[in-house]
Amino acid sequence: MSRNLLELTDIHVSYGRAEVLHGISLAMRPGSIVTVIGANGAGKTTLLNAVMGVIPSTGAILYDGVPVPRSVEARVAAGLCLVPEKRELFSSMTVEDNIELGGFLRSASERGETREELYARFPRLAERRKQLAGTLSGGERQMLALARALMSRPRLLLLDEPSLGLAPKIVADILNIVSELRKTGVAILLVEQNARAALEIADEGYLVELGEVRRSGPAAELAVDPALMESYLGAHS
């Protein structure tokens, strides 16, 4: 019996006095893509940040069957990696330095090897390796953010709105890359507001509303659930 890679039980998060996640539970298998969808402000980003340890939360986060380490850095070392909504690149440093730093916790030889793989996967970044990250276009930045994350050889990639602010054609490219990544064995927890596209590439989906899971199940079933439409476009009235 294969156990879950990630298991969240009753996760609560508060900002000051305001609780924004009211007990979220979620499970994902190794190598799967799970998407968390829901209207803006539902708490999707907060959930990813809690899993990464960027913000404190209560409840249990089991990673590979054991409680996840406390600090962000230790979680990176354990194989979690977050690509945040705002990408958080090192804008005044070169593309190459950004990628290099993605492998901060790995040895020089491992870094060199992974870097060449990544350049093969993202030829655009290879062309621009001496360019400053701040001068890249939106799509290239997202690629760089992905590449930087992959440098750490994660087992669980947390992607926050990878299509945000990108033109439709580039969104398709990026989501293609995401579904390709699964073949390398990495599991992906994907937060997307582009619900249809996300459900298309995911195995499982969770519809989150107001900090609670409203529906969950196989992605294909969720895609045709009327609750989805309602959550995004409001109730019929």
Partner: protein, 590 residues
Amino acid sequence: MMANKHLMPGIAAIALLAVFPLLPVPPFWITLANNIGLASLVAIGLVLLTGVGGLTSFGQAAFCGFGAYTTAVLTTAYGFSPWVTLPLSLLVGGAVAVPLGLMTVRLSGHYLPLGTIAWGLAIYYLYGRIELLGRYDGITGIPPLNIAGYPFLSGQSIFYVIWVFVILTAIGAQNLLDSRTGRGIRALRGGGQAAEAFGVNIVRAKLIVFIFAAIVAALSGWLYAHMQRSVNSTPFGLNMGIEYMLMAVVGGSGYIWGAIFGSAFVLIVKEILQRVMPELVGTGINVEMVVFGVLLVAILQLARNGLWPMVARLMPMKGQLSIPTSVRKLAKRTLAPAGSPLIKVDRARKAFGGLVAVSDVSFEVKAGQIVGLIGPNGAGKSTTFNLITGIASLTSGSVSYQGQPLTGNSPREIAKHGIARTFQHAKILPDMSVLENVALGAHLRGSAGVLRSFLRLDREEEATLLAEAAYQLDRVGLGQYRDRPAGDLALGQIRILEIARALAADPTILLLDEPAAGLRHGEKQELANLLNKLRQEGVSVLLVEHDMGFVMGLVDHLVVLDFGTLIAEGRPAEVRRHPAVVAAYLGGVA
């Protein structure tokens, strides 16, 4: 008269101060008490500057010097009476603060303290080099203060002069904080963005506290000169400046009475270290710098609000403030006739470098309407909102209000038109009461300045403003939380609080930035009811929202953005079925 229980500790303290010099205490106790009084004045200024205003200066000792040297020179070389030099000393202190303040208040927070360190040192050296100021020897033979021929020569007699000034200054500073201007100053600490949106001049508010702190420091210097009857540059150096900062930090940021407590604490510890330590360990090792340095760091690490809150907890609580109701009403704007164009956005464009965030968007808000500006994340809603509120400037196109262009206006100027806003990330002052937070919204409806507030001559206007704030709180249904710190409220209540604050500005139009974000279902319903009620009263609303469900049943008109362009507008029911809108929200090709 109602017995004001919370005044008891104050009255007891004043009574104790009054009899203190008459008690059979050793003379150095009196000297110590005098020094505590002098330091308290400086520390009160620092509390206002640092704790309340979020600015910091290590150069306050130099400002003491301006007060002390002014009176020293004028009384010894020119035969002025000490009482005549009092206003002159304060004037010099205040006047020097103006250019330094002007230079630094626009810069980020750390330039002011760094500037004061360098500038404080330069002035300190200057005191010791100028012939007129007696170089390092200083000036001696300064006459004592006298009233009707009675000279204040003894420590006991000047004690009363010093402490009368301390108490008056503390009360005045407290008055200032409890005023219209004071609310503007207190709002600085939260970044000032909200205050600016309600017409507070941030630069001016910063300058006011900086000059105030300089003037009270000069007052302390003036008193020092006449107590000591001689001055030299030693007490005006950087180390004293740091010591004053320590007093303010020990007392606690933001508490006037904490300043006096902090001064007493630091000076008594210093006295103990200087008198008792050598007896204990033998030789006179100077440990006071080490102790003070460690104390400063420890307080910042362990009790960033200082020790005063712990002391204050032991005192009786302040009762609920009664809000006078039968005062004159504030003037109200006449609302534009329903249906007339209020805000017109015409081909508004905003580019950040090569990225076009808002591309030639045009729409209109008519009086009496609720208009929703919606779109998925990253669609350019917030940028459009910022273009209207003056936070961001247009690349091209225009925004006008009742036909007058708003282009290029600051948030403060836009507020004057009667355009009031809320913030996506609520910007309230958590330590201030709910009522005071709302009263900040009525800033432009009052006029009392620093002096009127300091002398408590602003009470009638202040009562009117607070009554207005209380009325708005009742209107939105938060009346019962009036005296609670705003930080105690839940997120949903804070959003409503922001609306009450905006209403206190007597707006013709409310601009709401994602008012429903993070609210639970019931709270959203209440918010929708409130906005409906406001529309009936004739207030127009433009709200940016991503929650379609919330806006559907509420708005008269919807404007939908995606990728910075307007993709649909019209009645909610029509827009909801628009294929481009469905695609924008759910993705894929509809």
